[in-house]
């Protein structure tokens, strides 16, 4: 009798199509593309996470919408996709961070925890009765003073990046970053933040209330910037933009 109910969950949901696709995984990636944009930049001694904050309903409390989460004191992440799915994985990640500290007396490396989260994602692409996670993470942190940035995908893959974006219009932001990310443009904390914000502003309505930003500097704790601080950076960016526009006008035509 007990087996009858269990039989309903016996078949896998994620199966190969005749031409070798895992459609459930690809649909999960589509879910990610619908999520609000997240950008990450790896600077010289800084890592920056910037996330699009969707316009809130009038009666909603702004503080309850947090898309940047810390996994431990030295690692944090931003995500795009299904928030509830992300919550589950973030919780597992946080538990693993402490479990690692308990067993080996050392904090996790960014790569280790990324690999762990990715492993969980992959497991769910090969499990009966469960669907894949519809989330893509941008994990940042420091390993022995070296800044790191990794991205995970619903398929369970992960790669290291110098700068990346995920979610809606990620392609546009990534193209911007490919154009403007140079060793010189990310030397200081401010420069790294400005690059991330500029990238996000390509696809997000300008305004500090639409952006959530977190920074980790080498040797320091995670810092969440408040609206005023973000506004300063936006104003700086707009000022520079205006100055460049002015210069172009004044430039004599060849």
């Amino acid at each position: 009798m007990a087996d009858v109910g269990a039989g309903k969950y016996d078949s896998a949901l994620t199966v190969f199509s005749p031409d070798g696709h895992l459609f459930q995984v690809e649909y999960a990636q589509e879910a990610v593309k619908k999520g609000s944009t997240a950008v990450a930049v790896r600077g010289k001694d800084t890592v920056v996470l910037a996330v699009e904050k969707r316009a809130l309903a009038k009666l909603q409390d702004a503080r309850t919408v947090r898309k940047i989460c810390s996994l431990d004191d030295h690692v944090c992440l931003a995500f795009a996709g299904l928030t509830a799915d992300a919550r589950v994985l973030v919780n597992k990640g946080r538990l693993e961070c402490q479990s690692h500290r308990l067993t080996v007396e050392d904090p996790v490396t960014v790569e280790y925890i990324t690999r762990y989260v990715a492993k969980v994602c992959q497991r769910y692409t090969q499990r009966s009765g469960a669907r894949p996670f519809g989330v893509s993470f941008l994990v940042v942190g420091f390993d022995q003073g070296i800044p790191k940035l990794y991205q995970t995908e619903p398929a369970g893959t992960y790669h290291e990046w110098k700068a990346n974006a995920t979610g809606r219009n990620a392609k546009t932001v990534r193209e911007f970053l490919e154009k403007y990310y140079t060793e010189e443009s990310i030397q200081t904390r401010d420069e790294a933040i400005i690059l991330a914000v500029r990238g996000l502003l390509e696809v997000v309505q300008s305004g500090s209330k639409n952006i959530e930003l977190a920074v980790i500097e080498k040797g320091k704790k995670i810092e969440f910037l408040d609206t005023d601080q973000i506004e300063k950076y936006i104003q700086h960016i707009e000022k520079v933009r205006e100055e460049e526009a002015e210069k172009k006008k004044k430039k004599p035509h060849p």
Binding site: S70, L71, D72, D73, N91, R94, C97, Q98, R101, L102
Partner: protein, 230 residues
């Protein structure tokens, strides 16, 4: 039955000594530095203090291995709470959580862990001290002690402890307790570590070393013995 009696008797007192005292603005926690088994002292700088999060910490004694295993487990779970929720467990929450885990652990195996948990609650700005033993007893106390040594020092604390003491006076009170142990307690505990926790969190570890008590009758040391000792 014999077995249940032996469990009850097993962790009742140990040769290790823990003491904690609460005052108006801070808590003092202290433990002896002896690390060893039975009659053998293996080290004189044993760590028996575990910080749980910035404003709560505990000194632990009991069965070797059980103590560290349990303490590290609590430590990591208290940090996990902070990461998950964005704010630290209050000392009261940490104490009740620890007690619960102690009780759970005891029902899985013989788990001899005694501790004193001291902390400073930043929201209510009050210090607190909790006494816990291996049975899962929890009591909030103005001062507390574990080990055989506690038999000698409770009376001193009853007489001399005042909530309005300063840190210097508290150190002095600790010294009085420790000197009493050196005088009347058969087990030699010459070295102690102590910690203060106040509104600024935990301070640095401090060490207190006590010489053996002076001889009550005038006596000359045997010269050969002096030579060997020197």
């Amino acid at each position: 039955t014999n077995k249940s009696l032996s469990y009850f008797a097993a962790g009742r007192t140990t040769m290790e000594y823990l003491i904690g005292m609460k005052f108006n603005n801070f808590v003092l926690l202290s433990h002896d530095n002896n690390g060893g088994r039975d009659i053998l002292v293996m080290k004189q700088d044993q760590q028996k203090f575990f910080i749980l999060d910035e404003y709560a910490g505990m000194v632990v004694s009991g069965e070797a291995g059980d103590t560290v295993y349990f303490s590290e487990f609590i430590q990591k779970n208290v940090v996990l709470y902070r990461i998950r929720n964005g704010y630290s467990m209050s000392p009261s929450a940490a104490a009740n959580y620890t007690r619960h885990e102690l009780a759970e652990a005891l029902r899985q195996k013989v788990n001899i862990v005694n501790l004193l948990l001291g902390g400073y609650d930043k929201t209510s700005n009050t210090p607190s001290l909790y006494f816990m033993d291996y049975l899962g007893t929890l009591a909030e106390v103005p001062y507390g002690s574990h080990g055989y040594g506690s038999y000698f020092t409770y009376s001193l604390l009853d007489r001399l402890h005042r909530p309005d003491m300063t840190q210097v006076e508290a150190e002095d009170l600790l010294l009085k307790c420790v000197v009493e142990l050196q005088k009347r307690f058969a087990i030699n505990l010459p070295s102690f570590s102590y910690y203060f926790v106040d509104q600024n969190g935990f301070g640095e570890k401090k060490v207190l070393t006590v010489p053996p008590p002076p001889l009550t009758t005038a006596r000359a040391f045997h010269p050969a013995a002096v030579e060997v000792m020197e």
